[in-house]
Symmetry: C2
Subunit: 524 residues, 2 copies
Amino acid sequence: MKRFLFSLLALLLVLCAAAQDRVERWGCYELTLSATVPGNPYDVALTATFTNGSDKYTVRGFCDGEGVFKVRFMPPSEGRWTWVTASKVPALNRRKGSFECTAPSADNHGPVVPDGRHFKYADGTRYYPVGTTAYDWMHVGEEAAARTVASLKESGFNKLRMLFFLHNLPVEYLDIYPFEKKADGSWDYTRFNPEYFRYVERRLLALQEIGVEADLILFHPYDGGRWGFDRMPLEANLRYLSYITARFAAFRHVWWSLANEWDGVKGIPAEDWDKFAHAVADGDPYGHLLSIHGYTATYYDYSDPVFTHASIQDHGPVLERGRAHTVSQIYKKPVIFDEVCYEGNVGSRWGMLSGQEMLRRMYNGLMSGTYVTHAETFNAEAGSSAEDECNFLAYGREFRGESWKRIRFLRAVLDALPGPPGLADHNWDEYTTAAGDGCYLIYFGAGIRSEWKFDLPVKNNLYARPKQGERYRVEILDTWNMTVTPWPVIFETATPGSYRILDKEGRGVRLPETPYLLLRITKI
Amino acid sequence: MKRFLFSLLALLLVLCAAAQDRVERWGCYELTLSATVPGNPYDVALTATFTNGSDKYTVRGFCDGEGVFKVRFMPPSEGRWTWVTASKVPALNRRKGSFECTAPSADNHGPVVPDGRHFKYADGTRYYPVGTTAYDWMHVGEEAAARTVASLKESGFNKLRMLFFLHNLPVEYLDIYPFEKKADGSWDYTRFNPEYFRYVERRLLALQEIGVEADLILFHPYDGGRWGFDRMPLEANLRYLSYITARFAAFRHVWWSLANEWDGVKGIPAEDWDKFAHAVADGDPYGHLLSIHGYTATYYDYSDPVFTHASIQDHGPVLERGRAHTVSQIYKKPVIFDEVCYEGNVGSRWGMLSGQEMLRRMYNGLMSGTYVTHAETFNAEAGSSAEDECNFLAYGREFRGESWKRIRFLRAVLDALPGPPGLADHNWDEYTTAAGDGCYLIYFGAGIRSEWKFDLPVKNNLYARPKQGERYRVEILDTWNMTVTPWPVIFETATPGSYRILDKEGRGVRLPETPYLLLRITKI
């Protein structure tokens, strides 16, 4: 445990040490200034402008406790960056410095950015979100959090949905909170508690270390009146958003999720969410991913470009192949179904999927060019409705289900694709996914087939159309048992018809009569 | 034929007579002024302001040929309306008058307006669009057009999608066009041909007479370079939109469809469509329904409030029950699937549905709270790809399919609903539609079932939830054979479970083993 804490602190020092001389591209440069100010130090306005040739960023600083002010910066280009601060506080004004931004280390591909209806890292590496959910993993102590990180590392998930504010669950919490308390015991929303933010930062950096993007949920309805962070006044909400973006925006792997189930947060008027989106965007000069998540089938209006992607709770579009395609066609930006029910054994209908069904829904979404987030919710006692501590959805720690074991395989399938997947021929063909020139995926879900005749759509919304005389190989992937079986025949396309193109000899693939098969068809 | 023409003209006179003393509410008041102007009379700006107490509308007039200027007005409230004109032309300026607006006649419910995700007439009467399509019915002459009107009247459709501009089809056209020609034979887009507009108006009024809303398509890609109305300069497009709205906006049953397959109109830059939407809205003081229609699965961005509803070409969402619900949840405004493939026998995959499948898709959309437009495309020779003259989709005249015969029955089902339909419990239950308090519809599509156990969702997104001890009757509707069979048992609800509520004795309905059944379940 001590070793773990030490390594986290060491990591933090490397990534965010004060007055660094060198920082890698998309790393976190941090400068620390001291000043004694009259009044509330959290009211002090401080910015720093960073310049590297024509690249210029002005970022907000923040108070990290009495007398300590910091500015963090994620340099987006290599070379010599110089900086100068601005503040009405003389000790914080016109301070200057510079640092060298070096090439990124091997595992650092920069922040994830939208790329049409998909995502990529800033260095161009493709990023397919395959996320899971552990709302309160940070809030149950460092030992539990370390176990969650170990589970995530083992599983291969590359995104985690997580709450910033505490969740009213029947467990022992940390004894630290985001705000200071007033003499009367109420929260002072004008004064932050840096200790809480530092605690969260250590958790965030532990995720960065293992390549997991942090889909950080800024508000949620699960406070239940215990602390009241779901019903702060507008000014407190905006102050919080300004502070959290000043602190966290320099972490390349942070995504902003304005809310989980926003329409359940009764203390925040519906019209405030758009304000919050713009407040976050104003505080984040790098344009990290930003979305908002509602109740089942709520569908927020994501048309404002401030929303980089749609983050949706709805299982309807992933019940069958092809349905999520419509959602992608409507939004024309990346779509993540961040809740499609959970693998588990709770008594509620949203938390009792089998592992097979959880995985099938993930593939259904992927085959239509959208992304589906995993979660599992196993209680110690099956069917109980109380959330207990073995529930990964809330507490993290160890997975207990079956679908998480298939995530590395799923990611390997995605990472091997020449291009992002999507339906080749709209809903004229709900089976066939195109994933790059000459690459097709055909997912049979729970259905059993004894044979698949080589049969592709002539049309292709996304990539080059197939032509006569092309040669293809086919592999049979068992997505549940995680096997890849090459089929021995090399197919050759016949003259295309109006809509379909077949093998010139009408050959096909004999399929094992087992569910969850995926064909990978690749032009040679 | 002469009698037909005469009756149309008589109708026009009644509805749009110059200098009327009395006009019914939502009728068309028309005032005619004479003025000889230097230069192009179509460049003359003329408006009239109509006032009735606090109701005040300023509407644009238009030139109806050399020396003749008109202003049309659809009075939205009863009582004494006074008007005064404004123009830089002295003979058209400060002309004044008044008329009495009387109660609407029995079949006049006013224009159709959006009502949440559904529609109603301005007088509050519910309007469920059950439309069909005859793009060129106006362009093939008066005799053919009269046959189309007779077919529509017989069928019970209450909306028609139709092109304003001619379609390049291999038939004899009218010898009149929307614009005058220049000496060199090219079109003079600055001078309209009132004769063409008058011809169209007579067609529009024939639809109004039989209660069919005119979903008028303002641009389309089917010109094929023959006349060039799909590639006019921006200024000509805007001038056309100003003129057509000045002429037609006072017809209560006109809807504006900016385009059919807008993304196929290569002569109009994509960014112009939003301009056109606002140009139409500017020219239409009554806010008639306004949308735009794209290629298969294109999904225009309908988030601008100027779009009153979504008009979509895509069959994907109506392939199964429940799928269209997601589209409705996203848009939060009325959704009409204005093309889901057609009943017909052409060789293309978009035009070879059976009548059963056409009708099933319409019910699938309706069960999820959306609307689906019918069309049929039968060629004389099955499988031929050439469009021939028996094709209702293009030319109108007589229906040849089977689904149209079931439209009056479908409309009777809709008109009997206590409220607009929609999925009761999102995609947790894709079978059960709620349609008012205590009213449910369960549609089995092509599936065969021998029994339905009384089994309703406890949750209801739209209307009151069912409670214990309520009594329900069930009718079996055969949507294809158009029968209604009451089931003799009166059901009584047991204690609700978490998600479902059953009959207290577990009773059900024995179903005839035939497809396309719809259960209508009504609380007594």
